[in-house]
């Protein structure tokens, strides 16, 4: 029995130690078994990182993204196929459902094959646009590999991407050049806040179809930095989808190829870039986890010393208006195989909202301390002068980071009858305290005079009347 238990424990530990934060079941959709060799290094790297790879042809009968209504795999790599259709198991709706179940997808495109209609409509649904005609590819007459594409200029050599915005972390940075042979460029629609470019084409690149037998490219699909070679979508449930414009760049032959950029010999770093790309898409990087979520009342220094319970009550359900409240939250970031303390980008901050319908406070959280695998963020504030049902609410959504949306509900009550300041503590009330005092004193004097002066005269007067 004990042996069985420890076996189960080890099995669990093994599952936990898989590279990805969400799971290790990986499906690689590959039509031609012979093409498998071309991607062997990528697949071996993934297996070495702890993924259990299943390779299936889209035509396979047994292929399904779901099993018993739940996702059958945690991650999918969709490699380009010759056939135009992907079959009934891999429709656009299936992929969307897979994303809804928090599965992650890498879609690799190739200009040599027509993009399947399922992929086309999937990308259209996600507001990622690709050229509709087969064979369209990205060309750059300045950043090309002169060793392999001296004529066609369709093998792009690009440096690693910089951070998308200065207040974002860069999960795809590095030193060196990445080769993008015969890439299909994508553009992102303006409507979706969920999409983000990972690698933009240089400003001198453009997308065109070499089959157009014209000397001058008229009306290209897109030009310059509006073209993306790799773009990403992170859904609201943090499921990730990455579109890689060039499946060839994931193949063995470009993983450490000698290339020539403007007469200079360089070595392509595709293997490292592919690792970063798969790691991000399969939730090995950029995953945030919330640990402790604590709020408590600050009684003030004097009160805390006097009470026997030095540690305040954690997460009380009720506060009073104008209470001093401390708040703390632990946030970790998953990095390849372990949790690290999360440090936001220098000009960024995690914010706490104290909200009832609308936020009454929106405060930057400051890092208080670091543990081995978490940062403790904290802030203290005064509850607003408004009673009602409030939320401690953290809503942190950044490109390339999983979303944090944490809420704790508390009641904020008004002052109890005996919690108001006494009248004499408010100097403005002294005048009216004096008013009462004078009235009462005058009344006492009146009563005294009345009683003292009354008897003889008044009684006799009464009697005579």
């Amino acid at each position: 029995m004990r042996g069985l238990f420890s076996f189960l424990l080890f099995a669990l530990l093994g599952a936990v130690q898989a590279a990805s934060y969400t799971g290790s079941r990986l499906l690689v959709v590959l039509e031609d078994e012979s093409e498998r060799e071309k991607y062997s290094v990528l697949l071996e790297d993934l297996t070495a990182r702890g993924y259990h790879t299943t390779i299936e042809s889209p035509k396979s009968e047994s292929l399904s993204l779901f099993k018993h209504g739940e996702r059958g795999y945690d991650h999918v790599i969709l490699l380009p196929a010759k056939s135009k259709g992907l079959g009934p198991a891999l429709t656009a709706n299936n992929f969307l459902d897979f994303l809804k179940k928090e599965g992650n997808v890498i879609v690799a495109l190739s200009s040599e094959y027509a993009t399947p209609t399922a992929v086309q409509s999937l990308l259209l649904e996600l507001d990622i646009h690709i050229p509709s005609d087969k064979g369209a590819l990205v060309v750059d007459h300045f950043n090309y590999d002169s060793a392999s594409a001296s004529e066609k200029h369709d093998v792009l050599l690009l440096p690693y991407p910089a951070a998308l915005k200065p207040d974002l972390k860069n999960y795809f940075g590095g030193d060196g050049f990445i080769a993008f042979p015969r890439a299909v460029g994508q553009t992102l629609g303006n409507e979706s806040p969920l999409t983000a470019p990972i690698l933009r084409a240089p400003s001198t690149a453009y997308s065109y179809n070499p089959k157009d037998e014209a000397d001058v490219v008229e009306d290209p699909f897109a030009v310059g930095t509006q073209l993306n070679l790799v773009s990403a979508l992170q859904a609201r449930n943090s499921a990730r989808l990455t579109v890689v414009g060039s499946a060839e760049s994931l193949q063995n032959k470009w993983f450490a190829e000698k290339a020539t950029l403007a007469g200079k010999a360089v070595k392509t770093e595709n293997r490292d870039f592919a690792k970063k790309l798969t790691a991000w898409t399969f939730k090995e990087t950029g995953v945030l986890k919330v640990g402790k979520f604590v709020h408590y009342l600050d009684d003030g220094v004097s009160k805390r010393i006097n009470t026997s319970a030095a540690i305040p009550e954690h997460n009380p359900t009720i506060y009073r208006i104008k209470n001093d409240v401390h708040f703390a939250v632990e946030i970790s970031e998953y990095s390849y195989d372990h949790l690290t303390p999360f440090v936001p980008a220098p000009s960024d901050a995690v914010q706490l909202e104290f909200s009832m319908l609308s936020p009454f406070h929106r405060l930057n959280l400051t890092p208080i301390s670091h543990t081995a695998n978490a940062t403790l963020f904290g802030v203290s504030f005064k509850t607003p002068d408004q009673h009602g049902i409030f939320n401690f609410y953290i809503n942190y959504r950044r490109p390339f980071l999983t979303n944090i949306e944490e809420k704790r509900q508390v009641t904020v009550r008004h002052f109890a009858h005996d919690e108001w300041p006494r009248s004499w503590q408010i100097s403005a009330a002294w005048v009216w305290i004096a008013g009462i005092g004078v009235t009462v004193a005058g009344w006492l004097a009146f009563v005294a005079v009345w009683l003292y002066s009354a008897p003889t005269m008044e009684r006799s007067g009464k009697k005579t009347q």
């Binding site: 408010i426 403005a428 009330a429 005048v431 009216w432 305290i433 009344w443």
Partner: protein
């Protein structure tokens, strides 16, 4: 209060004559000062001492009340409950005192046959203490 004490100081008998002459002369002249003086002398002559005492207390309460109200208008009503409490103590005391004046005024004797002055005064004391209690409570 000095004019009042001066007025109450002279003995009673000569006053009616004076007032009658004053009223006569008042009937002759339309001077406002004469009218006021006539009223005043009549008041000092005919009013019992206890009613005068009540009247002076009422005047005092009016002064205190006006002072509080003017202060509130000029400076502001920040602890509003304090203002209400202070002002209503004065106003309430005025009302109670006025009631006592009505009940103990010899001129109203016919209407309060069954209410002795002692009873009226005891009611007044009780009501006033209740009022003060409420006001002190309300000002917190």
């Amino acid at each position: 209060m000095p004019p009042k004490s001066r007025a109450s100081a002279p003995p009673a008998p000569p006053l009616p004559a004076k007032s009658s002459s004053a009223s006569k002369s008042g009937g002759g002249s339309t001077s406002a000062q004469d009218i006021v003086q006539g009223i005043w002398s009549k008041y000092t002559a005919k009013t019992p001492q206890r009613v005068k005492l009540l009247d002076s207390f009422l005047a005092f309460l009016v002064v205190v009340g006006v002072l509080q109200f003017v202060y509130c208008v000029v400076v502001g009503n920040f602890p509003f409950n304090a203002f209400l409490s202070g002002f209503s103590a004065t106003v309430g005391q005025f009302v109670l005192t006025a009631s006592l004046r009505i009940q103990t005024n010899p001129e109203n004797k016919a209407e309060f046959e069954n209410t002795s002055h002692e009873r009226a005064f005891a009611d007044f004391i009780f009501a006033s203490m209740l009022l003060h209690f409420f006001c002190v409570n309300f000002i917190n």
